[in-house]
């Protein structure tokens, strides 16, 4: 059996890949995918701890996160479509109006 540390290392690796993508990439879709990646990294950690301690709270949270992530993806994709219609681009740095 693979020790819990292995799962956690994978989780951490996934999370930082996601975080790096979120910060470094400029394409909106990539940014969204990076967010999904981080969410799932966290899910993996939850499941790992849940299994290790024999408690089901972590798994319940994971189900919740998946549901929320699905909803979030639906809203986010709709926003992306609208943003694209406005600016004809998916470059996140173009959408800086909040500063003005």
């Amino acid at each position: 059996m693979i020790p819990a540390a292995g799962y956690l290392m994978v989780s951490a690796a996934l999370f930082f890949i996601g975080a790096a993508g979120f910060v470094a990439r400029r394409n909106l879709f990539t940014v969204l995918m990076s967010i999904e990646l981080m969410l799932n990294a966290v899910n993996l950690a939850f499941v790992t701890f849940s299994r290790q301690w024999g408690q089901y709270g972590g798994q319940i949270i994971v189900l919740l996160v998946i549901a929320v992530a699905a909803a979030e993806a639906a809203v986010a994709l709709a926003l992306v479509v609208l943003l694209f219609r406005n600016k004809e681009t998916l470059d996140v740095d173009v959408f800086g109006q909040m500063r003005e």
Binding site: A19, F22, V23, A24, R26, V31, V92, D93, F95, G96, Q97, M98, R99, E100
Partner: protein
């Protein structure tokens, strides 16, 4: 007639003030809108007479309200007077409208009364006042602030009537302050001229000094009546309770109240506001600054006479102040070169006479001089106003002279002459009767200093009155063009001049002195108020013949001197005789009192205010600026992280998360 009708006496003018005030406001608002709309129009001539006087229809309505209501109030006053004269009629009428406020033992009611003293004041105020209102129709016809003027004038009348009809000292103070406000508003009526606005301010500020004394006097009166268990400001109950006051307390109260009277009635040292008050329209000078408001101090001292009589020192002080003021003001009046200023100083001088009468325990004579003065000084101002109006607003004597030859001004000249000679105290005009009575009373009361002052003033009064008369009307016109374009006074002005002329001649008959074989009906009427013996014949002064002879001689001498000096056209208005220039300048500069106040009070206060303003301003500015600087600097820093880029926000989030993680690991918290 029910007693509650006496409320109508002051409510009618108040109604006029409200209605005219509403009209004035709506006219002002309409006018503010109109120029904006028509400013661009090429011809402004099509848009009615808004520039000069008000719209004729508005003027008619304002005149009707503003003049008829005072006349109605005068009619009610006369009806009450007639009722009082009935043998069986009550001489005291009161109306209590219920409590105004009560605090501690103080219980102030809206209570009004009419006793012989009040009804005399009411009749003077409403009757002379009504005719001055009538006169104003002609005098103010071309003024843009016509409705505003009548609103103020009506309001003044209401306040003055509250003052003289109040049964409570606190309520009297309400009227006292009310007339002060109206005086301020009317002196500064043409407030676009900063000199006139400042004159109003000066009157108000100087009067504040006096009012402060009045207030302190009231407080002290209250405080010293507390031991009696039932302190009161009720003017009808006061005479019964003040006997508990000790001499020094009564002196303090009396003198503090007198400070108020000194302020209102323009006596030394608070007389400086009255000459400047001439900045207001001339009917205002006649009504407020000659006939009524300035006599409020005389009324108040008479009303509170019981307190003055408890003190050994109060009345002599009153007499001395009155005498010195009378003399000083008369000397200044001799040297003035502005027609209204001469009369203003003359008013101060005559008010001094009234206080001399009060000091001689002859309140009836003081009040009687107040009444005759209202007629002849009101007439003096109104006829001077007719001259000013005829000369298109000219007030300087240097541009008058020779107006007797102007046919349009014959009537004005006769009225002016009656006023000047009554003011001079020529037999048998009203001014003679009341002034002689005062001088006799002073002689009878063994007050040699005051008597000397009164005699000297009588001489000077005759001199300056005739000087003014001759400078305006005698000789050749100093400004022929101005004299040629002079116009007749309008019908309303003529009626008022006619009425007051008759009054200035005959009113003296009401109190023809006993020494000259008279009945002194007026003094007898007032006797119940002043605690004198009712029905008893007045005590004649033993040397009455000599006193009257000296007074009349001095008056005739004054008239003669003025006649000899000014009957020919005077080439200069300066010193009349060689070698008198220094004295004349001293008089002309009003004894340098204004300069003295400027140096001792006004300038130090202004400098102090300037200093405070600079010090506090710079301190507060520094504090406020420091805060502004902090926020500004902070904002500059914070702005740097506000990039508007999603990725940089994300980066900060990640960094934050990492930081939390590091903290958690390092501290070992779970």
């Amino acid at each position: 007639m029910s007693q509650s009708w006496l409320l109508a006496i002051f409510l009618l003018p108040l109604l006029g003030a409200v209605l005219n005030g509403a009209i004035a406001l709506s006219v002002a608002m309409a006018r503010r809108r109109v120029p904006a709309a028509t400013a661009g129009a090429a011809d402004g001539s099509t848009h009615g007479p808004t520039l000069g006087g008000p719209h004729p229809a508005i003027r008619s309505v304002v005149s009707l309200i503003g003049v008829l209501l005072p006349f109605a109030s005068a009619a009610i006053g006369w009806a009450f007077f007639a009722q009082m004269l009935q043998p069986a009629g009550s001489r005291l009428m009161t109306v209590d409208l219920g409590p105004w406020f009560s605090a501690g033992g103080l219980d102030v009611h809206w209570s009004f009364m009419l006793d012989p003293l009040s009804i005399v004041m009411v009749l003077v105020v409403t009757t002379v006042g009504s005719f001055i209102h009538l006169y104003s129709i002609g005098y103010m016809a071309e003024d843009a602030g016509y409705a505003r003027y009548f609103a103020y004038l009506n309001l003044f009348l209401a306040a003055m009537l509250v003052l003289v009809m109040a049964r409570d000292l606190v309520l009297m103070f309400v009227g006292w302050e009310g007339v002060g406000v109206c005086s301020y508003l009317l002196i500064g009526f043409w407030f676009e001229d900063s000199v006139k606005a400042t004159a109003g301010l000066k009157a108000f500020v100087v009067n504040r000094v006096g009012d402060f004394g009045f207030l302190l006097g009231m407080f002290l009166l209250w405080w010293s009546l507390v031991p009696t268990g039932g302190p009161t400001f009720d003017l009808l109950k006061l005479p019964g309770v003040v006997s508990v006051l000790s001499g020094p307390t009564a002196t303090a109260i009396a003198l503090l109240l007198f400070v108020g009277a000194v302020g209102k009635s323009a006596q030394i040292p608070l007389h400086v506001w009255l000459p400047d008050a001439m900045a207001g329209p001339t009917p205002v000078s006649a009504l407020i600054h000659a006939a009524t408001m300035v006599t409020a101090g005389v009324y108040m001292v008479s009303r509170m006479h019981v307190i003055y009589e408890l003190s050994h020192y109060a009345l002599p002080v009153v007499g001395l102040i009155g005498g010195v003021t009378a003399l000083m003001a008369a000397t200044v009046a001799c040297a003035q070169t502005n027609i209204k200023r001469v009369i203003a100083w003359s008013t101060i001088s005559q008010l001094g006479y009234m206080f001399m009468a009060l000091a001689a325990n002859s309140y009836g004579y003081g009040i009687f001089h107040l009444v005759t003065h209202a007629f002849f000084k009101g007439l003096f101002f109104l006829s001077a106003g007719a001259v000013i109006h005829a000369l298109h607003g000219e007030e300087e004597l240097s541009r008058m002279g020779g107006l007797w030859k102007v046919p349009q001004l014959k009537g004005t000249a006769i009225a002016f002459a009656i006023a000047a000679l009554a003011n001079a105290g020529l037999v048998p005009l009203s001014g003679f009767v009341s002034k002689d009575a005062i001088i006799l009373a002073v002689a009878n009361h063994q007050m040699p200093v005051v008597l000397a002052l009164a005699w000297l003033t009588a001489f000077l009064t005759a001199f300056y009155s005739v000087r003014l008369l001759l400078l305006v009307f005698a000789g050749d016109a100093r400004d022929p063009h101005l004299a040629e374009t002079a116009h007749k006074p309008g019908w309303s002005m003529s009626i008022a001049l006619g009425f007051l002329s008759i009054g200035a001649v005959v009113v003296g008959g009401l109190n023809w002195p006993a020494e000259l074989g008279g009945q002194e009906w007026f003094s007898a009427f007032l006797a119940p108020v002043f605690g004198g013996p009712v029905g008893a014949p007045p005590v004649p002064e033993p040397h009455a013949g000599a006193v009257v002879g000296i007074t009349t001689g001095l008056v005739l001498l004054g008239i003669l001197v003025a006649w000899l000096r000014y009957r020919e056209p005077a080439p200069t208005l300066g010193a009349p005789w060689r070698g008198t220039r220094a004295v004349w300048t001293f008089f002309w500069r009003k004894w340098y009192v204004d300069e003295l106040y400027g140096a001792v009070v006004v300038r130090p206060v202004l400098a102090l205010a300037q200093g405070f303003s600079t010090a506090f301003d710079s301190f507060l500015d520094a504090v406020a600026d420091a805060f502004a600087e902090i926020y500004d600097r902070g904002a500059r820093v914070v702005r740097l992280i506000e990039t508007g880029r999603v990725r940089s926000y994300g980066f900060v989030m990640v960094l934050g998360t990492l930081a939390l993680l590091v903290v958690a690991v390092v501290t070992g918290r779970r």
